[in-house]
Every structure is written in C-alpha cells, then in structure tokens.
Symmetry: C2
Subunit: 409 residues, 2 copies
C-alpha cells in the first residue's frame, strides 16, 4: 500500500475500496474458480447511496451488464456483487435470469431491494453460471461483510491478474476530509477471459447521483478509457462509483464549488488503478506512456495517441528496444487526426528522433539503453494547436503470443 | 505460373504485368538494395494510355504518392517507375524534388512528358533517396524494356517479400479476348518497411480513364482493402491500372455493356494478388478467410469482418489452433456493426461453435485438426439481413514478434 503523495499532490491513504467511511466488503471462496481461491466479492454501503456507472460499449454486452444498466437507472446502489471464474456472457435468457438471481440473493442477505444491487461477472464465456455455488457464496459474503474487507474483495475479483489492485487517496475540501478508495481487476494485455476490466470506486464525500455520474464519466475518459493494449473490448467491462456521504457535509452536486477537488481525487484514484492494470499486462515487459501534444483538438490528440498505442508494429518495436519513429509516423498517418507531415516531432525517452517530419541523427546506443527501462515515454508534438492526450500501454512480446495462443477456451 | 481456371471461371494466362498486349517492362539492379538484387522496375505502354490509381489514405503520405496523385489528374499514364530499398518517405521538400526527378529521368529515357510518369518508392523511411543510383537504374531500365520483362519487374519491386507476385487472366467479351495482368509487392504481415503494398494492373481492353477508375476502385474495395493484418497502413501504398487498348475494339466506358466482364476480370486479378500478399506474411502459418453474412448492410458486414480479422486475440487463437468463438463474439461486439446477441452463429472450418449467440458442443479434437490446415475459413452469420463481406488475413505468431521486434530501422 502506498503512503506517499502522487504526482498531482493527492495524499495516498491506507486501504482500498473500504478506506472511505460507510463501506464494508467481503471476498469469499465459493468454488467457481477451480483453484479454490476467493471468487465472490461483495461491496456494501449502509443504505442505498448515490452512484453511477459506465459500461462496455460492446453490442454483445453480457447479462450482468444488461441487468446492472437497468438497476443503475435509479442513481442509487446499496451493494455491488461480483463473481470471478465465469463471465455469464453469451448465455442467453438463462444468463439474464442468473444475473437477476445474484441480485436477489444479495437483497435477501442484506434485506434490501434487488434493484439496488449492482451485478458483475468475469471469467470464461459461453458457459452457464454455476448459480447454486454463486448463491451460496453470496450468502456467506453477506455474513462476512467487514469495514476492513477491501483486501479480500480485491482478491476475489481477480482472474488472470497477478496482483490485487487497490488504492485510496484523501483530499481536504472546505475543512472536510474526504477519502476516495478503489479496487480493480484486469490486465494490460488482453486476457484469455477477454480482458474484462472491472473497477469499483467509493467515496465518503456527499456527492449526488448527478455528481457521481459527472465525476465518473470524466475520470473514465481520461483513465480507464486511455489504457489500451490492442483495441479489444470486453463484453463485461464496468466501472462503478458509490458515494456514501458518511464523511458529512451538505450534498455536493456537479455545480458545487467543492465538486472539482473531489472529482480530481476520483480521477487520481482511477488513474492509479488504470496504471496498475497496464503494469499487470501478461507478457508486458515495458510500461509505455504515449503523450501527444500540439494537436488541433483534444479529440485529435486522443485519436493519434490511441493509434500509436494500438499499433502492433509500434508495440513490437518497443519490445525490441527500437526507437523506430517511422512506425510512430505511420500510426499518426492512419489515425484520422489532422497532421502536417512537415511539422511532426517524435521523441523516445526524451531522445529526439524526428523533427519537423524528418530524421534526426541520434545516439542509437543511448536510445536502446533508454528503451530497456521498465517505463518509457514516447512523445509526439504535432505543432498544430493545444490538443493534448496521454495513453498508457505496454509492449507486444513473445509471451503475449504464448499466453493468448496456448490458452484453450 | 497458373494455367488453370479460378473459382469464378476466369482463365489464367501465362505471364504477369506484360501478358496484355501493348506493355513492356524491365527490372534492373541499381545498387539501392545492399543485396545487389534488382531494385528499379519500369512498366511502360507504347503511348500515354487511360489509367487510374488508388493511394494510401495516410495523412503522412510519402513524396512519390504526392507526385503521382498530381500526375494522375490527367487520367493518362505512359510509364510507371518504382524503386525498392528506400521509401522516400519523411524526406521533406527534398523527397518531393527526388520523386519529380525520377519522373523526369523516365521522361528523358522514353521521350515522353514527365507528367505522364507514375512514381513509387518502397523501403526504409526517413533516409534521403540515393538519387544518382536511382537515375542510373532508370536509364538502364529504359534501355532494357521488354514485352517479356514482367518477371524482372515483379522481382525488382520486392522488399521483404519472399516470392514475386504476378498473375494474368483472360476474358472473352463480344468476340474479343482481353487480357488482364498484374504484379504486386507486400506481405500479409506488416513489414519492417511498413508493409507498403504496391500493385500494378494492366489490360489490353480499350477502357476509358473513367472505366479504369470505376473498375479499380470497385476491385480494390473488395480485394486490396479486404486484406488486413493488424490495421496498420503504409505511407506509400498504391495500386495502378493502365489500359493499353491494344487488343482492339471501341472504347469501353463504365456504362458499356462490355464493362462488367472486364471489370470482373480486373477484380479477379486483384483478388489473386491480394491473396498472394497475405500468403507471403512473414510469421504467418495460416491463411484465414473471415466471411460475415446476414449483416444489415454490406458496410456492417465489412466492419464486422475487419474487426475480427484485426483482433490480436482472434489471430493468436488461430495460431494456437483454438476454435475460440468467444473472441469472435468479442470482436463483433466492438465492431460498430448492428448485432443481435441472440442471433449470432459462428463456425470455424465448417464446425459450428456458437449458434444463436450461445455455445454449441463440438468435437474439440476435430476442430484442432481442422485449424491445423494451411487455410481456414471462419464464418459468421448475423441473421439480420443480406449484407456480406469477406476479409483475408493470417494468424499472429511468435515469428511476427521476432521479425518486427528485432528489426532495426
């Protein structure tokens, strides 16, 4: 756990999703994962609280996504349940029934309305959910909810993750101290279970549902939606934000002067979780920050950065320690962003390789050494405007091919 | 060389780009490639003839693309020159000057207008063209033009290609026999030189420039633009069609009743060249046909097929011999095409793995055996309409990572 200050001055706090006041969590072993590891997580507030979520844009959205979208319409959530080991995707009507049954089991255990329960599943697809096991796990999780249960919950949502991902930060606003906590699962490389990314963010700030929605949408756009591995999108992705208000104070709507600082803290927590996801990429040997500046618009910068970060040609060059700016230029060319070939600057780890669209002599040995680091920044300046965007990704290695080629459904 | 009938009944003919009447070609060694192999190709008609071209959509288009676009405005081309070993891309004003100098050298050698010369370059980027060598090669090529020179030209345009790509087919229209020939370079896997694809198609049918344009656009959309490896796009891609009219007959415009059959033959030649490019993918072990049917529109079918064919997750599964329909469903979900999760059928090599969006029990051993073949068809039926599209691709292997990771600019 971090106890430091992040780059933007947010103070890290101990704990994860249960660090903010008013939340409890549990993670239990229900026998869905063959390994016997924890596979049912439950996160609960003391009552239904303001909440918002963002979901996968996939047209093949899984059953729990369909059900959770429906439940979120009220803008309130009492509890969120997750099972790992089975994605309940491509499971037809039965899948919808099973997702509703998960919500009902939580409602029965906590004595709340099933419509106030958020449901998620992650794991293999096309296999019916072992509902009896899941229901038993949910009952057990309801019994074992604990204000220090964040660690167990963060473990229970893992699939091929190699470490649990959680963080918490605090901010002071108008004399009040608010805490934001979070946990996530997902790996930078697309995974056998289709890289499902789940993120749960909690805060004890008294945000309204509208404020939750505004903060989560803005944060996701600049964090979870800015990590990319190969452009593949899961059927089950979701990020949820719940605001208990337990730290006190008058409700904070999106227009409130206090909103900005809380929203920034939420974004900082999401950014930390997003970076952990990229770092956990199986097969990844290098964490790559692609920063595009000087674009005509932010949308152009985003398209350009994403095109570079998603290019297998670029990603294999990083794996090979090759400051191959030609591949960056190629990716820019196909990105759809406005570019002037005569103005593009490209640098790798601070070493300028291309200026005004043309080759610059550089020290190849120094570049190879710089690219051998665990983290590399590739910066592009389009010299056309003020648009900026940063995307985080990882390299494309032999290990990636092994993992995804050898995995059997 | 083929001497058979293709699947749509076109008769293969001997020869490549010089098989049609009225064309000569040459391929010489100018010393641009370090290997000493042929690296300057010239293709010429007896006079400026109706022609059309399609170019890369990259915003970072290389100098020869800029110059050739300008020259093509007249709808006539006398000769096309290509150098391999240097892409003349990211070379600024000097690059434009050098591309014009290549056209001027051909014009001087053949006694024609420089504006009637099409120019292309392929190879490393960001390095100034060794113009003196190229000009010397062009002078030699002008001297050695030969009606049987197609083989030498097809060799001279190769970069990392492992075999020259050429084909020719004939069709009979209204008592006349027309021949269509072609040569191409490019590899199914993105290449160190950024996968530049160049294709030269010739015919002795008396097509007008408008007919050339209509035929080439339609053929490219269904052939060159339907091969994909990873979505990367070169700065130098081009396909050119020249129509000598040397086989006789009245001019054929796009509305002529004879146009359809000639256009079909042009498409068949382009399809053959496109398939050769995918087969030559370095690192590719399997040629994959992705066929999507039942889409609401052809555009939807194209988006869906392309999303599947470009998914690294899908491509590594094919490499691993895994009939992983979940990855097909994931790629459909993010494609932007209209899909109804409850109607999707997916089969691998004729083996149904997913029906109405749900898993179907299938013989895993039989599927693994079928996927071990050199060619595999993956078929998706969306059951929403009549839209159909086919995309050709290859798998993603260790060898791909090795080639693109170890290559140094």
């Amino acid at each position: 756990m971090h106890t430091a200050i992040d780059e933007r001055g947010f103070a890290f706090a101990e704990g994860g999703v249960t660090a903010p006041l008013g939340f409890s969590a549990a993670g239990v072993s229900a026998g869905i994962k063959r390994s016997g590891r924890r596979d049912v997580a439950l996160l609960a507030a003391e009552k239904a609280v303001p909440a918002a979520a963002v979901f996968t844009t996939s047209a093949m959205a899984a059953a729990p996504v369909v059900v959770s979208r429906e439940h979120l319409a009220s803008g309130r959530v009492r509890a969120a349940v997750v099972n790992a080991g089975n994605a309940n995707a491509c499971t037809g009507e039965q899948g919808i029934h099973d997702a509703r049954a998960m919500a009902a089991a939580v409602a029965a255990g906590l004595g709340c309305d099933a419509a106030d329960v958020n449901v998620a599943s992650t794991g293999v697809i096309g296999v019916p959910l072992p509902l009896a096991l899941v229901e038993q796990g949910i009952a057990e999780a309801c019994e074992s909810l604990d204000a220090c249960g964040g660690d167990a919950a963060a473990e229970a949502i893992m699939t091929t993750d190699t470490f649990p991902k959680q963080t918490a930060m605090t901010c002071r606003v108008d004399g009040a101290t608010y805490t934001v906590g979070g946990m996530a699962k997902g790996s930078g490389m697309i995974m056998p279970d289709m890289a499902t990314m789940l993120a749960y963010v909690t805060t004890d700030a008294p945000l309204t549902a509208e404020a939750c929605d505004a903060a989560l949408r803005a944060a996701s756009a600049r964090t979870f939606n800015r990590i990319t591995v190969d452009g593949d999108t899961s059927t089950n992705d979701m990020a949820l934000l719940m605001a208990s208000g337990a730290a006190g104070g008058e409700p904070i709507g999106p227009a409130d002067v206090r909103f900005g600082r809380v929203a920034e803290t939420i974004e900082a927590v999401c950014a930390e979780l997003a970076r952990m996801i990229v770092r956990d990429g199986e097969g990844a040997t290098t964490f790559v920050t692609v920063r595009v500046s000087g674009a005509r618009t932010e949308a152009d910068a985003d398209a350009a950065a994403r095109s570079i970060a998603n290019s297998p040609l670029f990603k294999t060059a990083i794996f090979g320690g090759d400051a191959n700016w030609g591949r960056v230029v190629m990716a820019l060319g196909k990105s759809g962003a406005s570019v002037d070939p005569g103005r593009v600057d490209v640098s790798f780890a601070g070493i300028v390789t291309c200026e005004r669209g043309m080759a610059v002599a550089f020290d190849e040995a120094a570049a190879a050494e710089a690219l051998a680091a665990d983290e590399v920044e590739v910066a592009v300046d389009l010299h056309l405007g003020d648009g900026e965007a940063t995307v985080w990704t990882c390299d494309l290695s032999y290990e990636y091919v092994r993992i995804n080629g050898e995995y059997r459904t």
